[in-house]
């Protein structure tokens, strides 16, 4: 809020007692400012992202360097703050590095799917008719498969690897985002201001850019942000099944899978990557919930 509305306020003549003009995003920001729960989890996400970005500088050990002598040690053993895994690699370093791949698995597919699904949805919604039927029924076919099964099937066909995993997840998310964009566009398209824009002589592209996108972006953005946690979980699931990230690259899901063998010797170790996944996806979920609330109110 602060900057834009302050300048507007000073620009308005002093004789008018009207409240300052506040833009839509400024008012959303203002509401978020008093939503402490969302702010807290937003900072949790920020910390996780920063830790992942600066993993090379923070991590005390090489995440791939193994040691036969120190396998499956409890947290606090020598210099290993969080212990070691089944190949004697430092758990803390692996968790920090693993955050990179897990966050990528969470964010990249959702961003790609938002771009592709959003474009398809807006096109289908705005043009309508046969184009709409063609696009939306195609999406329904993909949508008919359970998302986990579909992700497993696609990445299984394409082969393992982080890239193929992300591609699979992108394909899984496109239909649902497309559907949200389509329904939002269909609603907006029928409103009088779109008719008025057409009456003013606006072209299709210009109307979509000026009048449709601004109204569709909100719901799509909220929905997409709620998918990030799903994507992290699905990505971890793929890695767990050996279809996502390949060892020895650290990844939370993969760590969960490999540490399974040691669950009876060191149950706490096995819980660590699980806790990382849980905290991250919970944070994303709650932040997207807060965003939805902040963006919902019109006045």
């Amino acid at each position: 809020m602060s900057v834009a509305s302050l300048s507007d306020f000073t620009a308005a003549p002093a004789k008018d007692k009207l409240p300052p003009v506040r833009g839509y995003w400024a008012s959303v920001g203002n509401r978020l400012r008093y939503d402490y729960l969302t702010l807290f989890f937003l900072s949790v996400i920020a910390i996780i992202v920063l830790l992942a970005i600066f993993a090379p500088f923070i991590a005390p050990f090489d995440p791939t360097k193994s040691s036969m002598a120190y396998r499956l040690k409890a947290p606090g053993f020598r210099n290993f703050i969080l212990g070691t895994d089944e190949l004697g690699r430092d758990m803390l370093s692996r968790l920090l590095w693993g955050g990179r791949t897990s966050l990528l698995m969470g964010i990249v597919p959702v961003c790609l799917a938002t771009l592709i699904g959003g474009a398809l949805g807006v096109t289908a919604g705005f043009i309508g008719g046969r184009t709409n039927t063609l696009i939306m029924r195609t999406m329904d076919v993909i949508f008919a498969f359970p998302s986990v099964l579909l992700a497993v099937a696609i990445s299984g066909t394409l082969g393992g690897g982080a890239k193929n995993g992300m591609l699979a997840l992108t394909l899984v998310f496109i239909p649902s985002i497309c559907r949200v964009a389509e329904s939002a566009t269909t609603q907006v398209r029928a409103l009088d201001f779109v008719e008025a824009a057409r009456a003013s002589g606006g072209s299709t592209v210009s109307i979509i850019r000026t009048h449709i996108l601004g109204n569709v972006l909100g719901p799509v953005f909220i929905f997409a942000s709620s998918l990030i946690s799903v994507s992290i979980l699905l990505g971890s699931g793929l890695s767990f099944l050996g279809l996502g990230v390949e060892p020895p690259t650290p990844d939370w899901g993969l760590m969960l899978s490999t540490l399974r063998a040691g669950i009876y010797t060191q149950p706490l170790l096995c819980a660590l990557p699980g806790a990382a996944i849980f905290i991250t996806s919970l944070s994303f979920n709650l932040v997207s919930d807060g965003l939805r609330q902040a963006m919902d109110v019109k006045s």
Binding site: A12, Y24, D192, E195, A199, T210, N215, S299
Partner: protein, 355 residues
């Protein structure tokens, strides 16, 4: 609204003074305009019928006049407005704008028509983009037609001031921060942004409460004088139409039943439907209490309109000829007052027919 300062008119607003057709040429000539919305049903989506929203309508709008269009809900008033704006495409019929046929060879293009003819919608809330400051909504049209962004914003500010909204306070606001009347003022400013010659006002004041309705009506009258405009004023409010119109067109079930100068229509209505419509107005005089509805029932289904005269099912004077023959819109008094009723045509065979 507070009075405007002199400085608000620092730069004069552009006024469209073009008149290529000359004074005598009607601004709009509508000929046999028709729009049937198809009804599709069954698995194969075959057309099984049609809603005859606008059925063979012809009329003209003179330069500088205000033509009021009245009729019950669902009689095709709004469809007619959207057909004129080409927001929906007519099945058949021609539109001649100041001597130039629209979107035909040697005529004017749709783009030019829309520049010269603008529309104000009924619902002031949904006719403004909730995500755009109102100034940008006004500037959109001129920008689309090639005006620079800064220049368009300045024009938008001037127009806001002209319609009685201080641009410094209201320009950057979003529609949800404005009242209904303020939004409708913005809508009027938006329609004026392309310097049109014709303004179609589709129930433009119907959603406003009475006190601000009068303000907006006065504003419309002022703008008409200052901007050299021609109005098509669509409304179901007969008093408002009487106040603002020069001529009135009465529609029933997709057709014109009567058209003429406002005094003649209101004082000497010739069509039974017009009479019933005028009787439905409530009087300020308690002695003129109306206990019975002047007209019974609902309009018939426009999918299957009655044969002959469409009003015959509700008309107290209906006779055999009304069922068998459709009355033509014809002169009743002078060449400016026309009605479509067998009773006004001495040769129709109706028992009450007079000349």
């Amino acid at each position: 609204m507070k009075p405007m300062a002199e400085t608000d008119f620092a730069n004069p607003l552009p006024i469209n003074t073009e008149d290529p057709g000359g004074r005598q040429q009607p601004m709009l000539l509508v000929q046999s305009l028709q729009k049937h919305f198809p009804i599709k049903s069954g698995i194969l989506q075959r057309q099984t019928g049609a809603v005859r929203a606008v059925d063979d309508i012809s009329f003209s709008v003179l330069k500088g006049e205000t033509l009021g269009i009245v009729g019950e809900s669902g009689c095709g008033k709004s469809t007619l407005a959207r057909l004129l704006m080409h927001l929906i495409i007519a099945d058949s019929g021609t539109l001649v704008f100041d001597g130039d046929p629209v979107s035909e060879m040697r005529g004017i293009s749709l783009r030019d028509l829309r520049k010269n003819m603008q529309m104000v919608f009924q619902d002031s809330y949904f006719s403004l983009n909730p995500r755009l400051p109102v100034r940008n909504s006004i500037a959109y049209g001129p920008i689309v037609h090639g005006m620079g962004k800064i220049e368009a914003q300045r024009l938008a500010n001037d127009l806001l001031n002209r319609v009685g909204l201080n641009s410094e306070i209201f320009g950057a606001r979003y529609p949800h921060e404005l009242s209904g009347a303020q939004k409708q003022r913005v809508n009027i400013a938006r329609a004026l942004a392309l310097t049109p010659r014709v303004l179609i006002l589709d129930e433009a004041v119907s959603a406003l409460d009475k006190s601000v309705e009068a303000q907006v009506l006065n504003l419309l009258n002022e703008l008409k004088r200052d901007f050299n405009l021609t109005y098509l004023f669509i409304s179901h409010d007969l008093n408002v139409v009487q106040y603002i119109s020069d001529r009135v067109l009465v529609m029933y079930l997709g057709q014109i039943v009567e058209i003429g100068p406002v005094e003649e229509i209101y004082n000497k209505p010739r069509h039974p439907y017009t009479r019933a419509l005028l009787h439905s107005r409530l009087s300020m005089n308690p002695a003129d209490r109306v206990n019975e509805p002047p007209i019974g029932g609902d309009p018939p289904n426009p999918i299957n309109p009655p044969s002959g005269c469409r009003f015959r099912t509700r008309c107290v004077f209906a006779e055999g000829v009304c069922e068998s023959m459709q009355p033509k819109l014809d002169n009743v008094a002078g060449d400016r007052h026309l009605a479509a009723c067998h009773m006004t045509n001495p040769s129709s065979g109706h028992s009450k027919a007079t000349s």
